[in-house]
């Protein structure tokens, strides 16, 4: 009896399995796949690396530059990075066929030039970030080109001059 009933259900339902990859995969419009970082927009600020729960995004100094690396092998496809990116450089794609025989294919990098202090030459931060900051805030490029230590020094010196104290043994 139950056999007849289940047969009826089966026949009426027909085949439900999609013949992937011959047929299109079943993806809803909301699906979150791997991310893409647009190098022309990225500032190299590292906000995405701070919010990434799985360490898939990392910002590390390398040689003379600063490298933002996305390792899809660790990605959990949450898309939090795209939400916090101040430059709107990250897009969440619908890509999910990410397997590769080459580990290198799983890593993508954005290399940033690093701005160096105009006085002492110490690395400050990614040039792109400095350019973006100058655009939106009322600070001079000359001030931005100083590292935090040199800024502090210049500030204490100017305060010292204003109150007439000696600037110390020079």
């Amino acid at each position: 009896m139950s056999l007849v009933k289940i047969l009826e259900i089966a026949l009426r339902t027909g085949r439900v399995t999609r013949r992937y990859p011959v047929e299109e995969p079943l993806l809803t419009p909301e699906f979150r796949g791997s991310i893409e970082v647009d190098p022309s927009k990225c500032w190299g600020c590292g906000a995405c690396t701070k919010v990434c729960p799985s360490n898939a995004l990392t910002l590390t100094p390398s040689g003379k530059g600063l490298v933002l690396e996305y390792f899809v092998g660790r990605c959990v496809f949450c898309g939090m990075c795209a939400e916090v990116c101040p430059a709107k450089a990250i897009t969440v794609t619908k890509k999910f066929e990410l397997a590769s025989k080459n580990l290198r294919d799983l890593r993508s990098r954005v290399v940033h030039e690093v701005l160096r202090c105009s006085v002492c030459g110490a690395p400050i931060t990614a040039e792109a970030e400095v350019r973006a900051v100058v655009k939106v805030s009322p600070i001079t490029e000359e001030y931005v080109a100083l590292c935090p230590r040199c800024r502090k020094e210049r500030f204490t010196k100017s305060v010292a001059l204003r109150i007439g104290a000696s600037s110390g043994p020079s």
Binding site: I6, V16, F31, C52, P53, C78, G79
Partner: protein, 543 residues
């Protein structure tokens, strides 16, 4: 705080408890270890359930090691938390297993992880692997989250003959180990050895890179089936501790997604149960119907599983008209197909015969072990966290809690079948009443050293997260998954049963071992029959 709660507090004070903090849903008491047993007895005999206990290294803030015993008063919807502090030099706490049998595991876990000796009972390692060195307790704050102590191997060879089942589960492909002692075909005793995939998630959350914001994504990965329960429970604990008011719309969305998760989980389980009984046709159709729910989940959240939409203070995805419409259409289809399938499935002789009368858990045993979820409801315990401790939007909906008194495998099947239908009705009501407004708070702040208990009715039963807030991240985050509470009941179900019924009975609690286990144990060892094969890698529940 109602009158009956104040009366209970008075009684607990008389027995030696000192009230530390009284909140809407929780009462915190400090108890000296000499008074612990009488307080635990008083609570348990008045109908409180033990939710769990949690060892906490509070040396940095209070100079003591503590065990928090979390009791739930289902009828009042209030949790009573007993904190028993002891000094490091004299870290001994008497056992409460005689008064509260459900405390068996969590006492041993606190002993392993925090190093508080439990006196007055036989002790053994529960969570830590056999080769973990003595005297190193991973959840102490001076143990670095990334430390890897040297391993030392111990060997014990007993005399009896055992039938090994596992470490791979006979039904779900997860590492675990049951030793069934048999007399002919009859099971005489059961020894369970779990925690092969303990991933140390509670400790990992202490690592520098995890802040309040990232832990929801970690919590979601505790379980591959009911991950959203864990992330919801974590955010609820933090929100309660910090007093964050979540927008109503976000609470509705969380409830809708939680019920969608229950649908897929119960359909998955029903398929597995059919498969175990040799009825693979039922398995395939159950999973075919489940697929509609999976696609719906992806459309609502962006992912078929590990939805990733919970953040502290709300959710990341809103629902629009299209989505609401899709929910109702999918539910109508699922309901129609599910009712037909269940009708056929339950009329199949091998299912009915093999499920009825097997794996019986009596009401008294279920009560003593504080079992949760469908297992409790199939044994006549009226427990449902959605009713007893209403959270999110569950206050706004009406639904029935299925209750059976037989306590056998069939009862557990029927409870889940009815819950699927109830879930569908709950979602419809939620969609109908969905309020407008924002889906997350603009900003929030978590003050340090606040405590909160959060509980959610997962598909497998009550999931409990206990939190002590810290600076920028939780000071202690304790997770108690439902399976943790239900596995000890298997011993009662299997004793005296036929060996052939063991796989279905084990599966009937819908076990989720990865939820229960939270520390990595690797190394493959062979040797005598008693030496456990410890499986490698981290396994998740089947998706």
């Amino acid at each position: 705080m109602t009158e009956s709660v104040s009366k209970l507090i008075e009684e607990l004070k008389r027995l030696g408890g000192r009230v530390e903090e009284v909140k809407d849903r929780e009462v915190y008491l400090v108890v000296g270890r000499d008074n612990l047993r009488s307080l635990a007895k008083a609570l348990y005999s008045t109908g409180a359930y033990l939710k769990t206990c949690a060892g906490v290294d509070e040396r940095q803030v209070q100079g003591v090691l503590s065990i928090y015993y979390i009791f739930g008063l289902d009828e009042l919807g209030v949790d009573v938390v007993l904190r028993v502090p002891v000094t490091e030099d004299d870290a001994k706490i008497p056992t409460i297993v005689l008064e509260v049998p459900a405390a068996d595991w969590c006492e041993l876990e606190a002993r392993d992880m925090v190093g508080v000796e439990i006196t007055g009972r036989p002790v053994r390692r529960l969570v830590l692997p056999e080769d973990w060195p003595e005297g190193i307790h991973p959840l102490r704050k001076d143990f670095d989250y990334s430390a890897r102590p040297p391993r030392r191997f111990r060997s014990e060879l007993p005399e009896e003959v055992g039938v090994p089942l596992g470490p791979y589960h006979p039904a779900l492909h997860e590492p675990e180990y049951f030793e069934l002692y048999v007399d002919g075909e009859k099971v005489v005793d059961v020894v369970y050895r779990g925690f092969h995939v303990h991933r140390g998630i509670e400790k990992l959350a202490e690592s520098p890179r995890f802040t309040y914001k990232q832990i929801p994504f970690l919590a979601e990965r505790i379980c591959g089936i009911c991950g959203f329960v864990h992330s919801s429970c974590y955010v609820m604990a933090v929100e309660r501790a910090a007093g964050i008011e979540v927008p109503e719309r976000a609470e509705f969305i969380r409830s809708i997604v939680l019920e969608v998760e229950r649908l897929h989980s119960h359909l998955l389980w029903l398929g597995v149960a059919a498969h175990l009984l040799g009825y693979d046709v039922g398995f395939m159709h159950a999973w075919r119907i489940r697929e509609h729910v999976m696609v719906l989940a992806e459309y609502l959240t962006g992912s078929r599983k590990t939805y990733g939409i919970n953040i502290i203070g709300g959710v990341r995805r809103d629902l629009n008209v299209d989505k609401l419409d899709r929910i109702l259409k999918t539910l109508a289809k699922v309901r129609e197909e599910f009712v037909k399938l269940v009708e056929v499935m339950l009329s199949v002789p091998q299912i009915k015969l093999r499920a009825s009368g097997t794996g019986i858990l009596s009401r008294s045993e279920a009560r003593a072990l504080s079992v949760v979820g469908p297992v409790a409801r199939a044994s006549g315990l009226y427990r449902d966290i959605r009713k007893d401790y209403p959270y999110f939007a569950y206050r706004e909906v009406s639904f029935k809690v299925p209750l059976y008194t037989e306590g056998d495998n069939l009862a557990r099947v029927l409870v889940r079948v009815e819950e699927v239908l109830e879930s569908i009705e709950i979602i419809k009501q939620l969609v109908d009443k969905l309020p407008g407004g924002p889906v997350a708070v603009e900003s929030w702040d978590v003050p340090p050293y606040r405590r909160a208990v959060a509980a959610i009715e997962a598909p497998r039963g009550e999931d409990v997260h206990f939190i002590i807030t810290g600076v920028g991240k939780p000071y202690r985050w304790r997770v108690r998954a439902p399976t943790y509470q239900n596995i000890p009941a298997l011993r009662a179900m299997l004793r005296g049963a036929s060996l052939a019924d063991a796989p279905l009975t084990i599966a009937s609690i819908d076990p989720c071992f990865s939820c229960t286990d939270r520390l990595v144990v690797y190394d493959l060892r062979t040797g005598s029959r008693r030496v456990l094969r410890i499986a490698g890698g981290v396994s998740a529940c089947p998706l």
